[in-house]
Symmetry: D2
């Protein structure tokens, strides 16, 4: 199953409900933050959470991310790989190995 | 390019830096929220944002989402499609068409 | 120093910069989330953070919260105490003592 | 009503439930982000929200902010005013008047 198939399913879901009017980039950005916090809520008081709850909320974050990628004509997989190349340069192995410092503190 | 290939690239990146020790589910959940807010920041005072900035931050949210999915052995594409089936039931077309009310207010 | 004095300082700061045009409730809500995530970022990979960084970001969250309270003519102190009464009812001592479960799971 | 009185009410509420064990700085930081997103949720699809819902969620954000300030022995009012002095320097009136650009783009 590839990204285009996911996009087609999302598109049909949105079109049938006439919801594209609500899916402005700004509203999608808010929605990603809102769902990310619902995912975080399962780790609010503990460092572990039930798999079912994680799946549910992670799916919501991913869905809004894919809707935003789709809005801009971007492929989520390509986005991740392209950013990974930038991140590799910001975090050279020899400087970042085994520590979690930000690139500007390496 | 499929999800497994993305996972392989992410795994190598993390392994080379010995970063898996930091990528607990809780830390990934925090990271998703943090990056989601950086995406939102580009819409803080306006309903539009530059494509370059959106790409950059959306990639970060997606990357942490994929790392979390990978941690739990989940496929992001499957997660999205499975959740879409649940959401279709919560938002029947005839009740939700053209409005943005939550399912418990339909 | 009371809330009204804080409000007066904030008002002058905003008026001098002609920024009230940007401080719609929606933009303030986004801003609170954005600053909350910057605070969280100091706890991204660790359970402790430097006091200076915490002060800086906590101040930003509080500032936007006060601006929103001011927008609606609300007193932050009263808001907290009123909500505390509701929360007391949702979390009776005998049921919630020593555990972190949500009220609907008590 | 001043901050110390609020702190006393919060302290009693927490002590009676034996909840201080959960209120680590990290957990409070997560909680502030989570509640901030619940506030934002009322603006997810619209630029306005009902006052009752805003009050409810803004109170939650403020409560966790006050609990964190209290944890570090900080006065929320002082935090806001001190940060305002820093912000004034970063955003000189003549450069920032009437625009919402970040200080590094002024």
């Amino acid at each position: 199953m590839d990204t285009n198939e996911i996009f087609k399913h999302l598109e049909q879901f949105v079109r049938e409900r006439d919801w594209s009017q609500f899916h402005t980039p700004e509203n999608l950005a808010k929605s990603i933050s809102i769902e990310a916090a619902e995912l975080l809520e399962h780790f609010q008081w503990s460092d572990s959470a039930s798999l079912e709850k994680v799946k549910d909320e992670l799916a919501d974050v991913l869905t809004y991310c894919f809707l935003m990628a789709k809005h801009y004509g971007l492929d989520p997989n390509v986005l991740i790989l392209e950013k990974l190349e930038t991140t590799k340069l910001k975090y050279p192995i020899e400087k970042s190995k085994g520590n979690s410092r930000k690139y500007d503190q390496l």
